[in-house]
Symmetry: C2
Subunit: 353 residues, 2 copies
C-alpha cells in the first residue's frame, strides 16, 4: 500500500472527497472520527480511502482541528523490564488506534522537571500523555499539565489519591504485598524482612504497608531492624541481605520490593552458601522475566505491566478522540480502572514434595 | 523557565527579533543552527532568547524549512536490555541536541513492514531515523527510505555491506566472537558448541563466522552437530543445552549468541546438576546486566550498546542539521564509525585459583 497515485503524484484528501462524492471537510471529519458524520457517508469515505490507498497526513487531520497523532510516555524508572513492558503495552494500543509514541525519560528529583515536561509537550505538539510513578504522583507535574489543558492518564500505586478527578489506572500493590507476606507466615515464618524500593515511590510505600498489615493481622510485630531501605536494583538486594545477615537473629524470609531486588538477594544468599528456600525464603514483586530465570525461581506478585499500560493508553486515546475540548472533573467522564496483582508461588519460598 | 510573558501572553519569535534588532527570519535561522548567520548576530539572538525565556516551537522552526525535531527509532528485537540500552543511548543525544524520540517496533518478517515504516515517517514528520538489525540490514527498508529522501543511520553487524554509501555504525561481532572461542580453546576445550540467535540477523551470522574462524585457526574442525539453531531468548538456551546433552559426546564448552541465551543454558545446566565451569564452560555476548547477575557470572563480549546508539543518533542529527538537503553518496560526507566489543572473562568459563 503506497500513498502515491499511479502517476507518481500523492493521493490527496481532495481525490478522496471527489471519489466519495462528499466535501473534503467531510472526509476530514471521518478521518478524525467525529460523531457528526452519518454512517452511510462515513462508509463511502472509508471505501474511497481504501480504494485510493490514501494515507491521512497530519495536515489533513489538522483541518478538522485535531492537533496531533502522537502521545507521550514520560517516566523515571531504572527497571528495564518495567519500562519495556510499559512501552509495549502503550505501543500495542497506539498501533491499533493509529498513534505514534514519543518516549521521554525525566529525572523526577530534578528541580526543573516540570519545565522539561512543559517544553516537551509544547515542542512535540502531543495529543496527550501517559505518566507512571513517581511522576504520576507529583502534584507539580499535574499542575503543569492541568494548566496546559492536555489530556493525561496516570498509572498510580494505591487505591485513593487526592487528584482522583483525573483519569487513573490504579494498581493495588498493597493487597498483593499483603498476600505475599501472608503466604510466608502460612509457611511458618515469623521473622520476615522487607527490602524497600526507591524512597518517594508510592509503590514502595504501598508494598511496605501491605507487609506490615500482614504481620499485624497475624499477631506478629513490626520490627524496624527487619525493614531495610533500598532501591529498585539488583545491587540493593545484594546489600540488603548483607545487612540482614549482620543482625543477631537474621530473618528466615525476605520480601523484596521487586524481582530485581529479590534476584540480588538470591545472588547474595548463594554467595554466602545459604540454602533457598530451606534456610531462607525469598519473594519479589512484578513477575518480570527475572523471576522465572533465577535459580530457584522466585515467588512474586504478577503485575501485568503491559496490560496496565495498554489500559492507560486506551483511556487516554478515548479521551483525546471523544472529548478533546471537554473538561473532566465534575462532568462524570472520569475513568478509573483497577488492577490487582496476583500471588505467584514458586520454589524460592516453597518446595513441593 | 516558562514560555509565557509576565502578562500571560506567549513570547513569540517576533518578540525575540525585536529585542535582538534582527528580522524574524534571522531568529529562525539561528534557532535552526544554519551556518549562514554571522557569529555576532547569532550571539545577539541567543541573548534575546535567554532574556525572554523564549522556547522555539515547531512552527517557528518550520519557517526556516526545517521540518521536525523528532527522530525515530525503528526496531524489531525481543531483547529488553538491548532495546532499553539503544533507547537510552539515543535519548541521551536527543536530550543534548533538543530532539524528541519516537519509538516504533516493527515485525521485520511482516510482508508490509516497508509500508508501515513509510506511513510512520509520513505521519510523524520525522527528521530522520535510526535503524538497528535486522531492519538496518534489509534492502527493501533502505529503498523506501532512500525514495523518501529522509536521513537515516544504520547500526549494522559486520565490517562490509553493499550499501556502505549510507552512514553506518559498524559493530564488529565477528572478531569479538572469535576472541571468546579463542579463550575457550586456550583453556583446553576442544568440543565447543555454538547456540545461534535468530536466523536472518546478521549478528547471528557474524558471531557464527567468528566461532568457526577461531576453531579453524587453532586446527580444530567445525562439527555441524555442535552448531544449534536458536533465537535470542532465555528459552532457546534451555532448549539448546538439552539437545547438546543428547549427543553421544556432549561439548565441554558452549558459546551462546547472547547473554540471554547463555543465561538459559546456565539455568538448564543447573537443572541437570552440571558444574559450571568445572564440567561445562559457558559464554554469552553483549555484557548485559544478565551476564553479571547469573551464578556464576558470565564470560561475554562487552558491546557498549548505549554508546553505539548514541553515536548513531549523533551522526544522524549532524546530518539533519548540517546537510538536510545535500545528497550523500559521492559527496564524501558518508560517516562510518566502528565499535569493537571486548572480551570479558568471568567465572562461567574460568575460576581463578
Amino acid at each position: 500500500m503506497y500513498i502515491l497515485r499511479k502517476d507518481g503524484v500523492k493521493t490527496t484528501i481532495k481525490d478522496v472527497a471527489k471519489l466519495a462524492g462528499v466535501s473534503f471537510k467531510t472526509v476530514s471529519r471521518v478521518i478524525n472520527e467525529e460523531p457528526s458524520v452519518k454512517p452511510d457517508t462515513a462508509e463511502k469515505v472509508h471505501q474511497a480511502i481504501a480504494q485510493l490507498h490514501y494515507q491521512p497526513n497530519t495536515a489533513a487531520r489538522n483541518l478538522a482541528g485535531t492537533k496531533a497523532y502522537a502521545i507521550g510516555y514520560v517516566y523515571d524508572n531504572p527497571n528495564a523490564y518495567y519500562i519495556i513492558n510499559m512501552q509495549n503495552g502503550i505501543l500495542n494500543e497506539c498501533r491499533n488506534r493509529g498513534y505514534e509514541l514519543i518516549i521521554h525519560p525525566c529525572n523526577a528529583s530534578s528541580a526543573n522537571v516540570t519545565d522539561e515536561i512543559l517544553q516537551m509537550v509544547k515542542r512535540s505538539q502531543l495529543a496527550g500523555l501517559v505518566l507512571s510513578p513517581p511522576l504520576s504522583e507529583m502534584a507539580s507535574v499535574m499542575d503543569v499539565l492541568d494548566d496546559l489543558d492536555i489530556p493525561y492518564v496516570r498509572i498510580v500505586s494505591g487505591s485513593a489519591t487526592k487528584r482522583s478527578h483525573r483519569p487513573c489506572v490504579f494498581v493495588h500493590d498493597r493487597d498483593a504485598a499483603k498476600n505475599i507476606v501472608d503466604h510466608m507466615i502460612s509457611l511458618g515464618h515469623q521473622r520476615i524482612a522487607f527490602i524497600s524500593g526507591d524512597k518517594g515511590h508510592r509503590s514502595t510505600e504501598e508494598r511496605k504497608l501491605g507487609y506490615r498489615e500482614a504481620l499485624l493481622d497475624r499477631g506478629l510485630s513490626v520490627d524496624p531492624e527487619l525493614e531495610i531501605d533500598g532501591s529498585y536494583s539488583f545491587e540493593s538486594g545484594v546489600k540488603g541481605l548483607k545487612s540482614l545477615l549482620d543482625l543477631e537473629t537474621p530473618p528466615s524470609a525476605i520480601f523484596a520490593c521487586n524481582d530485581e531486588i529479590a534476584s540480588g538477594t538470591l545472588f547474595a544468599a548463594r554467595l554466602n552458601g545459604i540454602d533457598v528456600p530451606g534456610k531462607l525464603a525469598i519473594a519479589g514483586f512484578e513477575n518480570s522475566p527475572f523471576s522465572r530465570q533465577t535459580w530457584p525461581k522466585l515467588t512474586t506478585a504478577a503485575q501485568p505491566t503491559d496490560q496496565i499500560a495498554r489500559q492507560a493508553a486506551q483511556t487516554l486515546i478515548d479521551i483525546i478522540q471523544s472529548a478533546r475540548n471537554v473538561k473532566f472533573g465534575s462532568s462524570g467522564k472520569v475513568q478509573h480502572v483497577h488492577f490487582h496483582p496476583e500471588l505467584v508461588i514458586r520454589e524460592s519460598t516453597y518446595l513441593p514434595d
